[in-house]
């Protein structure tokens, strides 16, 4: 049995303009120690989906099941949810500045989290644990830094502090909602690296929500692609990138500027994502789809296996044989991988790895 089993989850919000159907029947599993990447554009429902698991979507009408470690989270009372949140399932949000309280010291906030869930821990022990955790996530001089306020931390350090807080109760599942979107490339690399290491050390399962396929390629094991509140495609990371079936997944992959296609034209998906109040008939992607058929206008496809392993599933009427990149895209991909990225970069990395004095250059 998986750690988390989400079945036919639906969330809608009544508004003055009509009912916003943010999540429309999504099912997926998260196994212990694995990372699932949830990818989608703004408004695809990826954040609502995960916030609903934690009872954070007030005002929404929720149906379906989300069984976490034997308990259905949907419909759980506030008091019971409170015991799950933080202790069992922790969240790392996109914007670390607004997720930390500006008027309390960072160390205090971490200690408070520990004490809120376990009163038997003394204030002193909790404070000590906060120092340990900050050190663990790579903040230099943690004993001094716990006394800082969030504004004294840089963006990357705040995100590290958030990760420290998320880890403080050794949760079984971490939900990371665009954790690196607000960060610079070199800092993003640090944070992703940190998350990977910590996940390996603690054996935590992770849901990584992102719009960046590069982040998914880096750290996910499996990928769920969402479009207009539904799962368009679910597969292992390799299948999503190398044998995508759903035209939306293919479109996303081909929209990314890629070094070997430099200077050429991109092949964007035409049109705009639909309004969740007034969805297109049939398959919600059909107005933007290059392969649209009559059936797509009237019948909404559900996730069906497109590979023999049964795990790779796509919600598209195209035959299973349609899986795979276009010949051109596949060709480009091979070239990129063949060339490797910068040779010089690889050399430097190698040098750092081999040089004992350079230990400080790599996050331990």
């Amino acid at each position: 049995m998986s750690l988390l089993e989400v079945r036919d989850l639906r969330v809608s919000f009544p508004t003055a303009d009509g009912v916003v159907r943010a999540v429309r029947g999504v099912s997926f599993d998260v196994d212990a120690g694995r990372t699932i990447g949830i990818v989608g554009e703004s408004g695809s429902g990826k954040t609502v989906l995960t916030q609903t698991l934690l009872g954070l979507t007030a005002g929404g009408q929720v149906s379906g099941q989300a069984v976490f470690d034997g308990t259905d989270l949907i419909g759980l009372g506030e008091e019971q949810l409170r015991r799950v949140r933080g202790a069992q399932i922790a969240v790392i949000f996109q914007d670390p500045l607004t997720s930390l309280h500006p008027l309390y010291k960072v160390g205090w906030q971490i200690a408070e989290m520990i004490r809120a869930h376990d009163k038997s821990v003394s204030k002193k022990q909790a404070a000590q644990r906060a120092v340990e955790l900050l050190g663990r996530v790579g903040i230099p001089q943690p004993a001094q830094r716990v006394k800082d306020y969030p504004h004294q931390f840089s963006g990357g350090m705040r995100q590290r502090a958030m990760i420290a807080m998320a880890l403080s109760l050794e949760p079984k599942l971490i939900i990371a909602d665009e954790p690196t979107t607000a960060l610079d490339a070199t800092v993003q690399a640090q944070i992703l690296d940190l998350l990977l290491r910590l996940q390996q050390d603690f054996g935590t399962a992770m849901i990584m929500i992102t719009h960046d396929l590069g982040v998914v390629a880096d750290i996910a094991d499996d990928v769920l692609v969402m479009y207009a509140g539904r799962a368009a495609e679910v597969a292992s990371k390799r299948d999503i990138f190398y044998k995508p079936h759903h035209p939306y997944t293919k479109g996303l992959l081909e929209s990314i500027p890629n070094s070997s296609a430099a200077g050429g034209r991109l092949r964007p998906i035409t049109g705009q994502p639909p309004s969740l109040i007034n969805l297109p008939s049939g398959c919600a992607f059909h107005p933007r789809c290059a392969y649209v058929m009559d059936k797509c206008l009237t019948d909404e496809p559900s996730l069906t296996p497109v590979a023999q392993d049964g795990f790779h599933r796509s919600a598209c009427w195209l035959p299973a044989s349609a899986a795979g990149l276009s010949a051109e895209a596949e060709d480009q991909r091979r070239r990129t991988v063949g060339e490797g990225r910068s040779v010089a970069a690889a050399k430097i990395a190698e040098a750092i790895a081999k040089s004992p004095e350079a230990e400080g250059s790599v996050i331990a």
């Binding site: 554009e41 070199t186 705009q272 430097i348 040098a351």
Partner: protein, 376 residues
Amino acid sequence: MTGTEATGPQPGGAIPAAAPPAAGNGAAADGDVLVQVHDLVKYFPVRGAGLISRTVGQVQAVDGVSLTLRRGQTLGLVGETGCGKSTLARCIAGLIPVTSGQVIFDGHDITRLSRRAMRPFRREIQMIFQDPYGSLNPRRRVGSIIGDPFAVHNIASGADRKKAVQEMMERVGLNPEHYNRFPAEFSGGQRQRIGLARALALRPKLIIADEPVSALDVSIQAQILNLLADLQHDFGLTYLFIAHDLEVVRHVSNQVTVMYLGRVAEQGPKDPVYDTPRHPYTAALLSAAPAADPDAAAARQRIILTGDVPSPINPPSGCRFHPRCPKTQDLCSQQDPPLETKPGDPPDHKTACHYPVQPHENLTTSNKSSSGGGAA
């Protein structure tokens, strides 16, 4: 690119051709160079607290940057938050006064012009911004937003203006019937098109695009990048394209400049900079950018830099990158490396580094000075 024409083709012809700002004699002298930035410096004073505040320090936002923008081409400006790329762009656009240095636009020194003297150049230099929500007045209709430049510069009014605006809307892929709508009725990608239409209304020569696609979803981002390429071709535009996404910059640029803490770390034609970066910072940036390909991601060896970018109020001595640099040696903290062409590189590929990355160098012997670590 042969786009040496001063103004591009004028579809519809409803807009009078932009008159050259002055005599227009400089253009021929420099051949295909549209903008030349010489040793530009911009410091912001840091004032102390209190009623009578005095300057207690300076943010060295841009500290001696030189650039050349060729007509019809795109210069990509890359760097992390706080490296001074947006400040540089605003100095070039004449939006903020510079501390020292020169901006030569089309043969004219526009660095210290009065408001009145600057005015003709404002038509020629336009900006598009990152946040398509924040850069459009929510209470004004799209037609009047795009029509504003015509009003400000007293070109076309009434029905002529409406026609020109609608043509522009159509050109950037908006429905001209949406002339009377408010920005809130448009999606992020469409708002970026509105910003583009406004920038292009007066047929500028230079477009400064400050992170124009970073707030957009991937599929929309690709639409806007294609549109930018088409417009550049049709109107003979020159772009200064600022972004933190290295793949996007590689896709759009002819030349690339990498900035770090107010200085140029490396600049040159796109391919040599991306394929054989000489500055360790460029190499680290390239290795840090996530590749949307699991095999490439697994094969790649990441250079993980320690710490954050130091404060530009009190930048490190010598090479500003030295506290984070994997190759740093004693010299790096003492002497500022000049921006120069390294042996074996094309003449316009310049690097500011004492110990540039060698294509076939065995780096395993490189030793790190004891001063390393420098996490802020």
